[in-house]
Each structure stands twice: as structure tokens, then as C-alpha cells.
């Protein structure tokens, strides 16, 4: 009996392992393999085609001596922080307001969520157009008689990142809204009754009771948004192409340009390795605590 059970146990686990084979293969070959490969190349002198030589940290020295890369990193930090913060605040507000038993809820929800269906290229092109002083809001306002009206974010080095954040928030806030709205709908009504009896103001209930309950939703939405921000390339190309000057360059575009346009694989892989390490340092603890830490043993 015991042996039979053991055999059964092993066999059923074997099936589970088998089922995970595609995933394991993809992780090993497509993800870990390419990452290892690109880390390897970042220590070579590769230009257009990979070379197998070893030049130590030369590419990294060059990378961190390149002002465009440093600008890209700063821009990335700025965009990431403001994009995530504004998306979170706006998405939360939208969700809370929609949850106030409003009429035409479907209309509001759709209006806030549909941008997420648009590609980054379209998002970038549209906002480039609307914010362009020659064509968009500035010109319209001036034609209407407000001759001193200025909205030149896109063409001004000091403000171009605001324009980028605006476009990305437009694209991503709806996702936070949808996730949090779903969370709000799942909250026990007794909780509200209790807080009402205690006379706690609504905003305090949201800030100190509801949002902590929605933490998993918040983390998930931030993870999804972070993935899009790390990869952000199309939007920048469509909207500003990194300009004016280098004012809106981002790391993914630096990598792409060096991989293809500038045929500089060594530098590009050094840059992507740097990004990987950065992401690892920032994201890994979050992912670990949220998805693996407490459940890792019980799953």
C-alpha cells in the first residue's frame, strides 16, 4: 500500500514536472540564455556582430562616460517615479469616484480604460500632435484670442519629460482604475457599516483601511506598469525621438540605437546589463515579498 502510494505520488509529480517543461525550456533558453549571452557580450568588443574576445569592463567605463546614457538614466528615474505616482493617485481617485454609485458608470469606465488598448506608438503620436505648439492646444488657444498662451512642453528641453509623463499616465491610469475598482467591489459592506457607526471620515477609511486591504491589487498594477516603463521605447520614438537634444532619451532607446543604428553591440549589452542589475536591485525584493516570500513554502 505504502509503496503503491509512493509510486503514485512520484508519477503524479512527474506529470507536473512534465507540464512545466515548456516553461522551463523558455526560461532557460529564451530568458536566462539570452541574458547570460548579453552579459557575456558586454565584456567583449563586439560592434555589428558578436565577438568572443574579452575586454574587461571597457564597455562599462565607456558607458558611464557617455553623457547621453547618464541623461537616459536620470530621465528614466524621473519618468518612472512620476508616472507610477501619478498613475497610482489618479487611478485610485478614478476608481473611488466611480464607486460612488454614479450614473453612466460604464461610460466613465470605458473612457478611462480604453487608452490601455492603444499602442504606445499611437499614444506618442497623438500627444505629440496635441501638444505641438504649431498645431495643437497652444495654437488653438491663440487663435481663440489668448495670444500669450504657452503650452510648449514637447519642444522645450526643460519640460519635455512632463509631456512624456502626461502621455504615459493617459495610457496607464485606466489600468490602475480597473484593478482598484475591482478591489473596491470586493470589499465587505460590513466594513463600511462599522466605520460609519464609528463616525470615521470617508477619506480616512480609504487611506488607512481600504487601501491596505487592496495592497495586492496595487502591487499587481504597479508591477504591470513598471514592466511597460522599463521597456518604454516606442512611445519616445513616436513622440519626441529623444529630443529636444537628449532631453527625453531613455535607456531602452539607447540600447536599441546602439544595437542597430550604431552597430555597437558591446555598448548596448553593457547598457542592458546595467538595466538588468538595476531592475534586479529594485524589483527583486518587491517581487519576492509579494509573490514568493510568504507563499513560497505553502504553495
Amino acid at each position: 500500500m505504502q509503496t503503491a502510494q509512493l509510486t503514485w505520488h512520484v508519477r503524479r509529480n512527474a506529470v507536473a514536472y512534465l507540464a512545466l517543461l515548456p516553461m522551463a525550456a523558455i526560461v532557460v533558453f529564451a530568458y536566462l540564455g539570452t541574458m547570460a549571452w548579453s552579459i557575456r557580450l558586454s565584456f567583449s568588443s563586439s560592434r555589428l556582430l558578436p565577438r568572443n574576445d574579452f575586454v574587461g569592463f571597457a564597455q562599462y567605463t565607456e558607458l558611464f562616460g557617455t553623457s547621453r546614457w547618464l541623461t537616459s538614466l536620470e530621465n528614466f528615474a524621473f519618468i518612472a517615479v512620476f508616472f507610477l505616482a501619478i498613475c497610482f493617485v489618479l487611478g485610485t481617485l478614478l476608481a473611488i469616484f466611480i464607486d460612488q454609485n454614479v450614473r453612466a458608470e460604464g461610460l466613465f469606465r470605458t473612457a478611462f480604460l480604453y487608452p490601455y488598448a492603444m499602442s504606445m506608438v499611437v499614444t506618442g503620436l497623438m500627444w505629440q500632435w496635441i501638444l505641438n505648439p504649431d498645431l495643437g492646444i497652444e495654437r488653438t488657444m491663440r487663435d481663440m484670442g489668448f495670444s500669450g498662451f504657452v503650452l510648449d512642453w514637447v519642444v522645450n528641453s526643460n519640460t519635455v519629460l512632463y509631456a512624456v509623463v502626461l502621455a504615459t499616465v493617459w495610457h496607464g491610469a485606466g489600468l490602475v482604475m480597473a484593478l482598484l475598482l475591482a478591489g473596491l467591489r470586493g470589499i465587505d459592506t460590513d466594513l463600511w457599516k462599522a466605520t460609519r457607526i464609528d463616525g470615521i471620515p470617508a477619506w480616512r477609511v480609504y487611506a488607512f483601511i481600504i487601501l491596505p486591504i487592496l495592497r495586492p491589487m496595487i502591487v499587481t498594477s504597479l508591477v504591470l506598469l513598471s514592466i511597460s516603463i522599463v521597456k518604454m521605447y516606442d512611445l519616445i520614438v513616436a513622440m519626441t525621438n529623444g529630443g529636444p537634444g537628449n532631453a527625453s532619451e531613455v535607456p531602452a532607446k539607447f540600447i536599441m540605437d546602439n544595437l542597430f543604428e550604431r552597430a555597437n553591440i558591446g555598448l548596448a549589452t553593457a547598457a542592458s546589463t546595467t538595466m538588468l542589475v538595476t531592475v534586479l536591485l529594485i524589483i527583486a525584493p518587491v517581487l519576492y515579498s509579494q509573490y514568493l516570500g510568504k507563499k513560497g513554502s505553502s504553495a
Partner: protein, 410 residues
């Protein structure tokens, strides 16, 4: 799906028409000429190729780097196209070094390219004594275009011939309330403007000694500083909405007489033509702002990825012959706005600006290589990064010089 049906139709045609005869040479060509004028130009080549019995399979991908990337990926992926539109910078040398291109020496020698083509073009495409690319056109990227009406309105009698006259004209335009210099604030356009200052302020020697020889003395010379200073001086003549503007929207400012001048390659002609503007009446072209201004030879080439398939090699040979045939050259370049790669063609069919270009080109001392051919891509990339930063920030001349120095001589 369309392509499938199209090639099926072609195969069917070949079977019915040319039954028994030689099978039509199928050539898949990757290129990035997707706009109206460009499509018209490439269709000249496609038609000529089909007239010779070939079967042109068009693969257009917008954007030079996207198309080149696709071509390289196809080569690496073992599924190369028959030909691809390319450039002749370091990428070109590297894929030749890896043995990924077929040479086209047969056609080249038969047609005496050594003597028919301008020397800088030969230098660019000939590697280790062999030809690996077929040049298709010569683009001079640094023409100065002007709107005749705008100049007239600002009281400018005749187009400028020197830098001093140019600045005087810019001032006059500014006073008349016209945007003096139309510029699209994109990296490549800012770079183009800087190149124009290199050739017009610095001249031929500075152009090659800084970019090709990367000569320390030249980079730190007063002449190069003057180039940088002149470039900075131009900032005040550009309108605020410049950043990010496309080059053709910028040319439109000249067409509507909102702006006076624009530095742009000869492809700008297409825009004027489409707007029914006439050379010499509505707009004009200046090859430079000094009597001996260098004529920079940019342009496009086709490369032919390595294959051992005799049918494909035959198709490649036929493509080279089609592309460089004198009649194809004239009609193609008229549509593309560029000038033919060979001097032995009928120049009467060319427009005024192209004819002027051909004439200048006949003087070898004014021929100059394109910047992209004098530097490896990554060096040129860094140079462009400096230029765009120089244009968009308050970088000092000293810092610019030292940045150029480290980028070029690293």
C-alpha cells in the same frame, strides 16, 4: 497574403508566357523608400528589371535603420533577401569581413566602374579590391534652399554667396518678421546643419582632417572653434517650434514663404515640386556659401547577401546591371531628386539644381566623402550626440571642443 497571390500570379504568367524559356529571375529587394516620390523612383528600377525578364518582389520597410536591421537579421537568420538597400559605413565593412555579401566584381569590371564612378564613391564601395555594393544615386545632403518671395520681402536682392552675406540675409529676414532659418530640431537635421557649417566655414580640408583623419591639431584649431561658434550663432535665427519637426514640414515653411532658408539634402526638391513650385522662380538652391565649397557625396547603395544559388546570383547580377544602367540612372534620379552615379549619362534631362551638381562634381577637388563614410557608426553616433547637445543646451565652445576630441580620438 497579397504577396503570395502576387508571386503566384507571376509564376503562372511565367509558365504560360515563357514556357520552356529561361525561368524569370526572382529578386526580393528590401528597401526603405516608402514615400510617394521615392516609390515612384524605385518603381523605375523595378520596371526596368522586369523588362529584362526579372521578377521584382518588393519588400518596403519604412525607416532606414528598421530596414537595415531587417536585412541584417534575415542574413543572420539564413534567409537573406536577394538585395537590400544599405549604406557603406562600418556595418558594410563588417558584414563583408564576415563573408556575408557576394561581390559584384563581374559587372563592375565589365562596366569599368573604376573610371566611370567618382573616386569617393569607388573608395566607399570597394573593399579589399572588390566591389560589394551597387551605388544607385548621389545625394548631396548640404544644399541651401531659399524661398525667393521671402527673400524679396526682406529686401534681399540676390541670394548670398558667402557666410557674411548669409548672416546679413538672416538679419534682414528677422527684421522683416520672417523666420530666417527653418530647421527641424531632430538629431539628424541638427547634425546636417553642423556639417554645413563644417564645409562652408571650415572648408574641405577641415572636413576631412577632423572627421576622416581625426587630427588632434585640426580638432583644436581656431578654424574648428569658428565652426562651433557659427553653429551656435545660428540658434537665434530658428523659431521656437523647431524641436521634433520633420524635415518636410520644415521645407513647407519655405514653400509658404514663412521662412527664408533651409539646409537640406537634394531630396527636398521633391517637396517643392509636389507643391508646384518652380526652381529659380519660387525657390532656389545653393550648393554652398564659398566658391570652393566641397560637394559632399552621400547616397544609397544596394548590397547583395551571400548565396550560392546560381539563379539568385544571376538575379543579383541582373539587378546590378539594371540599377547602374545609364537610362535607369537618369529617370530614377530625376524622381528621387539626386544625381546619377556616373558622368557618362545624358545630363540634359536633369533639372537646374541637379545639372549644377553634376557640373560641380566634375571637379574632383570639390568631391568630398560623406561624414558617415569617414567614421564608424558608433563614433558618428557620439558626434551627433554632442552636436544635438551643443544645439539644445548652453554648452561652451571649450567643452564642445574637448567632447569632440574625446569622441573622435577615443
Amino acid at each position: 497574403m497579397f504577396h503570395k497571390t502576387k508571386s503566384l500570379a507571376h509564376t503562372a504568367m511565367a509558365l504560360t508566357i515563357g514556357a520552356g524559356a529561361a525561368h524569370a529571375q526572382e529578386a526580393e529587394v528590401i528597401h526603405f523608400w516608402t514615400s510617394g516620390g521615392e516609390s515612384a523612383a524605385i518603381s523605375v528600377i523595378a520596371e526596368a528589371f522586369e523588362e529584362r525578364g526579372g521578377n521584382w518582389v518588393d519588400n518596403a520597410i519604412a525607416g532606414g535603420s528598421a530596414a537595415r536591421g531587417a536585412a541584417i537579421n534575415r542574413i543572420i537568420g539564413g534567409d537573406p533577401s536577394t538585395a537590400a538597400l544599405f549604406n557603406t559605413s562600418q556595418q558594410y565593412h563588417e558584414i563583408i569581413g564576415e563573408g556575408l555579401l557576394n561581390d559584384i566584381d563581374g559587372v563592375a569590371n565589365r562596366n569599368d566602374w573604376d573610371n566611370v564612378l567618382p573616386a569617393p564613391i569607388v573608395d566607399a564601395i570597394k573593399v579589399d579590391g572588390k566591389y560589394y555594393a551597387a551605388p544607385v544615386n548621389i545625394h548631396m545632403p548640404l544644399w541651401l534652399w531659399y524661398s525667393s518671395d521671402a527673400l524679396q520681402e526682406a529686401g534681399i536682392e540676390s541670394p548670398p554667396e558667402t557666410m557674411e552675406e548669409f548672416f546679413a540675409a538672416l538679419d534682414a529676414l528677422q527684421e522683416a518678421g520672417i523666420t530666417p532659418l527653418a530647421l527641424g530640431g531632430q538629431r539628424w537635421q541638427e547634425n546636417l546643419l553642423f556639417s554645413a557649417m563644417m564645409t562652408n566655414v571650415g572648408g574641405h580640408d577641415l572636413w576631412t582632417s577632423v572627421y576622416a583623419d581625426k587630427d588632434e591639431a585640426a580638432i583644436n584649431s581656431p578654424e574648428f572653434r569658428e565652426v562651433i561658434e557659427t553653429f551656435i550663432r545660428l540658434k537665434q535665427y530658428v523659431d521656437d517650434a523647431s524641436p521634433g519637426r520633420n524635415w518636410n514640414d520644415t521645407t513647407a515653411m519655405l514653400i509658404s514663404d514663412e521662412a527664408g532658408f533651409q539646409f537640406m539634402g537634394d531630396w527636398a526638391k521633391g517637396e517643392f515640386k509636389q507643391a508646384d513650385q518652380e526652381i529659380g522662380v519660387d525657390y532656389g538652391c545653393l550648393p554652398g556659401l564659398r566658391a570652393d565649397s566641397p560637394y559632399v557625396l552621400g547616397g544609397d547603395v544596394f548590397v547583395f547577401p551571400r548565396t550560392d544559388d546560381p539563379a539568385q546570383i544571376e538575379a543579383q547580377t541582373m539587378l546590378v546591371e539594371t540599377i547602374t544602367a545609364p537610362d535607369v540612372q537618369v529617370s530614377f534620379n530625376n524622381l528621387k531628386g539626386s544625381i546619377p552615379i556616373r558622368s557618362d549619362v545624358d545630363a540634359t534631362a536633369l533639372d537646374e539644381c541637379a545639372a549644377l551638381g553634376m557640373e560641380i562634381l566634375s571637379d574632383p577637388s570639390r568631391q568630398a566623402p560623406d561624414a558617415s563614410q569617414m567614421m564608424e557608426e558608433y563614433v558618428y553616433g557620439s558626434v551627433q550626440d554632442i552636436i544635438t547637445e551643443l544645439w539644445n543646451t548652453d554648452m561652451s565652445v571649450d567643452e564642445a571642443v574637448s567632447r569632440f576630441d574625446s569622441a573622435l580620438r577615443n
